[in-house]
Each structure stands twice: as structure tokens, then as C-alpha cells.
């Protein structure tokens, strides 16, 4: 049952918050309470996995590979925990940001439906169920995008859903093909049955279909444009939640499927991943450099950072995989925090357009310092968490003497500093165009607390990087040697 709670808690939350959505205050605090419960379930799960190794549960009591399998190795468990952290941060932030109308339209229930989809995707051991959880996420995120009811949001949501539907269709086709080839959908079982058949045409086609689907979910080049089209339109709470989790589920699925089911040393797959990753990094960061809107810059940065993670996967050495996993964790915390800060800055200065903002450093120095921590971390400045993440990836590239990816990783890092300093100069440093009195109001406590907590977490990951790298090392070993994972699912035989 320990595996089931991270899915049941958000589902129960979505149910109750949906039925009680008229009681605004109750639903707001209920949302926070359920998020805390999810965080607690994540802690318990991670603790179990750290002690006992991968654990599995068969829902409905039917044995794998026939039943509904939930399984957690260290990567899954850590992703669930970090989902809990983001959930708490975002729901507390939403206490002040989400207005009554959005609450009445079901914002809080949709947040938890999304969390259920995310946790389900991290924990499922069955590739068709992975598809189902992706659909749950898609429907919930579509609801969250349009819940504010403005034209701009509907426009972003249509682009978002359009491309994502094509991706899920490719996903479903790939899954169908896999089922035709191997006669099973259980991922551990698939891994066993496809051993030695990786070069078959049908297997390769299914791999490319899944690669396209997960690549689109992760916002890789050239199928990323749904992300900058939609992430800046909804409430900040929603876009922080999206930026932290949605693309990362895509990266997680890539890591899981291309280590457990497919071999990465098939040249076709590896070269698509490698060049896709490098192009994603470069295009994302160039896109960010061309933007002049706080959340749009951040959106393009998600894309370039996704490139780093996929690069780690594509290089396929243990060191590179370690870098990718460490990057995944660091990025979720930092990115969510930057979006939350963008929301606070908009509240103070009245806009997200860089030229219409300013004066925040003079008026709200604490917020400025809190911005610098995740911003420097994202750019990879030591000793913050982003430095270690980039260092691990670049180091893995150097070991392989893969100069192209090393140069790309370092160059993109430099350009990241450029657009972070653009935000700094425009929003914080230069005086506000309407004079110093234009910066109004204080950052409300429910907004400030999550920002501080995530900034502290960024500092901790950076300063105590050894502990986190060691944990990521264990996760990498479990990913690259999935025997324990397969045994947990199928039993020893």
C-alpha cells in the first residue's frame, strides 16, 4: 500500500475539492493539507526504497505481468518526493494568488488531479498505464490553462493541447506496436522479452514513436513550441507547477523507457537523442535571449535545460546518467522558484514585460536576493546546485571526448547568464519607468514562504552536493542495472 498512497491522496483530494468547490476557504486550506499529506507519503516511500531497494505492488491482486503494477526504484521515489515538495510550495503560494472565480471553476481540484497524473506516471510499471497517466495529466493541465477564462489562455491551451494530442497519439501507436511485438505491456517484462531484438525494424519504429512522444512532452527540439505558447498565460501558481513537473515527466519517461525497454547503444536512437539534445539546448537559450517577458524567458530556459538532461541520457555513460538525474532534481526546485518569483515581481511592479518593470532591488531587496539564488543556480555558478549539475554533464562529455556536447553545454551556460542578467537589470536594477512609487505593496507571506523554502533547498543541494550526488549515484546504478527493478516486479525466477 505504501506505493499506492502517492496516487490515492491526490485523487481523493481532487474528488473532495471538486465536490466542495463552493466553500472557498475550506478548499484552499484543504488543498494545502492534501499536498502536505502527499509530501509525507513521498518521504515514507523514499525511506522504504532507500532501505529495501526497489519495491513493487500489484493492484487488484493479479500477479505481474498481467495485473496493474506500481513500482518504485530510487529515481521514482525521489521524483514522487520532489513532486510533494513542489505541491506544498505551489498550493501555499496559491492561497493568495488564486482568486475566488478560479477556485470556483475547480482550480484546486485540477491541481491535485494533475499531481495524481504525475505521481502515477512516476510509479507505474506498465507502459499502457503510463499512457493513461499522461492523459490524466493532459486533461488536468488543459483545465488549469483555461480555468481563468481569458482569450489569451484559451489560445495558449489550444496550442498546448494540439501538439500534446499528436504526441499521445504517437505514444499510443508505439505502445500498440510494442504489444504486437512482445505480447506484454509490463515494462519489466518488456525489457526481458526485447533482449537481443533491439535491431528489429518493428522495435526500432516503436522506439522512435515513443521517442517522439516523450520528446514532445519534454519540449525537445523541434517539438517544443507548445511550451512557450502556453506557459506564460495561466496563473503563476499553475505555470510554476507546470514548469516544475510536466516536462520532467517527459524526461523521466525517456530515462525509464530507454534504459529498461530499449538499449541506448542502438546508433539510430542515440544519435537522435544526442543531436536532439544539443539543438534543444541551443534553440531554447537563443529563444530566451530574444524574449522580453519575464515568464516567457523562463519558459524558453526550461527548453534549454531539458536539453542538458537529455544530453546526459544520450551520452549513456554512468557518469552522464548521474548528471542527468542530478540535473532533473535540481532543475525542478530552481525552475518552480523562478516562476514563483516572477509572480511576486509582477504583483509588485504591475507587469511581466521587462520594459514596464523595474526598481525592485531598491524597493524589495529581500526578493532581489531570493531571485539571485535560483537565477545563479540555473546559470551554473558555483557553489549552487546548478553548477554541480552542469559540472557532472560536462565532465561526462570530457571523459568521452565528445567535444561538440562539451562546447554546447558550456556555451549554453554562458548564454543563460546573459538572459538571467537581462532579467536582473530590467526588473530589479533599473528604476521603474513610472518612478520609484510605482512599486507597490509587500510580498504576502504565503508567496514569500515557498520562495524562501525553495531558495534554501537550492542552497542545501549546492552546499551539501555530496549527499545528493551519492543518492543520485545509487539511483543511476539501479537505472543502469535494472535486475532489482525487474525482480521486484516479476518476482525472483
Amino acid at each position: 500500500m505504501i506505493l499506492v498512497w502517492p496516487v490515492i491522496i491526490p485523487l481523493a483530494a481532487a474528488t473532495l475539492l471538486l465536490l466542495l468547490r463552493k466553500w472557498d476557504g475550506l478548499v484552499r486550506w484543504g488543498s494545502v493539507a492534501f499536498a502536505v499529506a502527499l509530501l509525507f507519503a513521498g518521504v515514507v516511500l523514499l525511506d522504504t526504497v532507500l532501505r529495501d531497494g526497489p519495491v513493487a505492488a500489484q493492484l487488484g491482486g493479479w500477479a505481474a505481468p498481467f495485473g496493474i503494477t506500481l513500482v518504485a526504484d530510487l529515481l521514482s521515489a525521489a521524483m514522487v518526493l520532489i513532486t510533494g515538495i513542489v505541491a506544498v510550495a505551489v498550493t501555499i503560494y496559491g492561497l493568495t494568488e488564486i482568486d475566488r472565480t478560479e477556485g470556483w471553476h475547480g482550480h484546486h481540484a485540477l491541481v491535485h488531479a494533475l499531481l495524481a497524473g504525475v505521481c502515477g506516471a512516476f510509479l507505474t510499471g506498465d507502459i499502457f498505464n503510463l499512457y493513461v497517466w499522461f492523459e490524466v495529466m493532459l486533461i488536468a493541465s488543459f483545465g488549469l490553462l483555461v480555468v481563468g477564462g481569458t482569450k489569451k489562455q484559451a489560445d495558449g491551451a489550444v496550442k498546448y493541447v494540439g501538439l500534446n494530442l499528436i504526441a499521445t497519439l504517437a505514444f499510443l501507436s508505439g505502445v500498440g506496436l510494442l504489444y504486437g511485438i512482445a505480447g506484454t505491456l509490463n515494462m519489466a517484462d518488456l525489457g526481458l522479452r526485447l533482449e537481443g531484438r533491439q535491431e528489429e525494424t518493428a522495435v526500432l519504429v516503436s522506439a522512435v514513436l515513443l521517442l517522439f512522444a516523450f520528446g514532445a512532452k519534454a519540449a525537445m527540439f523541434p517539438v517544443f513550441f507548445w511550451l512557450p505558447a502556453s506557459y506564460h498565460t495561466p496563473s503563476v501558481t499553475t505555470s510554476a507547477l507546470f514548469s516544475a513537473l510536466l516536462t520532467k515527466v517527459g524526461v523521466y519517461a525517456l530515462i525509464r523507457v530507454f534504459t529498461l525497454i530499449y538499449d541506448l547503444d542502438v546508433p539510430l536512437i542515440q544519435s537522435i537523442l544526442l543531436y536532439g539534445a544539443i539543438l534543444t539546448m541551443v534553440v531554447g537559450v537563443l529563444g530566451a535571449a530574444a524574449q522580453n517577458h519575464f515568464r516567457r524567458i523562463l519558459s524558453f530556459h526550461i527548453i534549454s535545460q531539458i536539453g542538458y538532461m537529455v544530453l546526459g541520457l544520450a551520452l549513456a555513460t554512468p557518469a552522464a546518467m548521474l548528471g542527468a538525474i542530478f540535473y532533473l532534481f535540481h532543475h525542478i526546485i530552481v525552475k518552480a522558484n523562478l516562476f514563483l518569483i516572477a509572480g511576486a515581481a509582477r504583483r509588485m511592479t504591475g507587469s511581466e514585460e521587462l520594459k514596464l518593470t523595474g526598481g525592485l532591488y531598491a524597493a524589495r531587496p529581500l526578493l532581489a536576493v531570493l531571485f539571485l539564488i535560483p537565477a545563479f543556480s540555473l546559470a551554473g555558478i558555483p557553489p549552487l546546485s546548478g553548477f554541480w549539475a552542469k559540472f557532472l554533464i560536462v565532465d561526462a562529455g570530457l571523459q568521452l571526448r565528445d567535444w561538440l556536447s562539451v562546447i554546447a553545454a558550456l556555451g549554453v551556460g554562458l548564454l543563460t547568464i546573459y538572459s538571467m542578467s537581462k532579467i536582473w537589470l530590467e526588473v530589479f536594477w533599473k528604476p521603474h519607468p513610472d518612478g520609484p512609487d510605482a512599486v507597490m505593496g509587500k510580498v504576502p507571506l504565503p508567496m514569500l514562504l515557498p520562495i524562501i523554502a525553495l531558495a534554501i533547498l537550492t542552497l542545501v543541494i549546492g552546499l551539501a552536493a555530496g549527499i545528493f550526488v551519492d543518492a543520485a549515484l545509487v539511483a543511476t546504478e539501479q537505472i543502469l542495472n535494472p535486475e532489482a527493478y525487474i525482480e521486484a516486479v516479476l518476482g525472483a525466477n
Binding site: M1, V4, L16
Partner: protein, 154 residues
């Protein structure tokens, strides 16, 4: 009302038939192809037909409950169906059939239990969500209750 007489008359005749088929498919799904999802989609056709023939307001009245509340009730039923298995067998989603027993005459009684509860829940979720989306799209032409935000900045 600007829909045709044929559509309105046809709807009155077809909706009960569709609903019956939907429930039949829901029950059939217990051991054969079918189930709550596809049954729910069939039932959602009734909502769509009714809405096209008589308008959104009339369809809302016909449903009695707001669509999202129907979806919420369905979600609650599905969850309870799953948790019932936890109570009886210690695992989420395990089937429980309190009225179905195995004896000397083979299986006797009614195969009704947690699985049907779960499937009915799925049925209601699908009906509720499809109706909510449909009504929202239909009402999109009505002026919004909120001012546009952000347009002046971009």
C-alpha cells in the same frame, strides 16, 4: 429554440435507447468488451444530442446536477470501489463481491461489488467531464464574466 423539429422529436425517441445501451455496455464490461469508459461515452452522446436539440440551459436542467459535480461523484465512487479492496484484501482495486459465493452449485448470487462500483464511477466521470467541456464550448460565445488581462502589456 432554433433546432429542427425532426432533431427534437428524434432526440426524445433516441435518448432513452442510447441510455439503455450505455447501461448495457457498462454492465457487459464486467467480463466482456465494454465497461464504464465506453458506456460513459455513449451516455455522453445523449447529453450532446439533448443539448443540440433543446439548448444548454435545458440540458443543464435535464442533468439536474452540475456536470463537474457528476464527475466528482463518479470519482468518489471509483475511489471507494478501489478502497473497498483495501479494506477486504489489503490492496487497492482488488475485486470484492459480497453477494457472490462459491458453493457446491458453482457460483451463486449476484456478481455485484467493488468492480461495478468502480466502473459506475468511471461512467459518471466520463459523462460529467464530457458534459462540462461541451457546455463550456457551447457557452463560449456568451460575453465573459472577467475582463481580459495582460493584453495591454504585450
Amino acid at each position: 429554440m432554433n433546432s429542427s423539429l425532426i432533431l427534437r422529436t428524434g432526440t426524445r425517441a433516441l435518448v432513452p435507447v442510447f441510455l439503455l445501451v450505455a447501461i448495457l455496455v457498462l454492465l457487459r464490461g464486467h467480463n466482456e468488451p465494454g465497461g464504464g469508459f465506453i458506456g460513459g461515452l455513449l451516455a455522453a452522446i445523449c447529453v450532446a444530442l439533448y443539448e443540440k436539440a433543446f439548448g444548454v440551459d435545458e440540458a443543464r436542467r435535464w442533468l439536474r446536477l452540475p456536470p463537474m459535480t457528476i464527475a466528482g461523484i463518479g470519482l468518489a465512487a471509483a475511489l471507494l470501489g478501489g478502497l473497498w479492496g483495501v479494506v477486504e484484501h489489503g490492496m487497492f482495486l482488488t475485486g470484492v463481491w459480497p453477494l457472490y459465493e462459491y458453493g457446491p452449485d458453482g457460483w451463486t448470487g449476484w456478481p455485484v461489488g467493488s468492480v461495478l462500483l468502480f466502473d459506475t464511477g468511471v461512467f459518471l466521470v466520463v459523462v460529467g467531464v464530457v458534459a462540462a467541456i461541451l457546455f463550456a464550448l457551447e457557452e463560449a460565445g456568451i460575453p465573459e464574466d472577467r475582463p481580459e488581462d495582460g493584453e495591454e502589456h504585450s
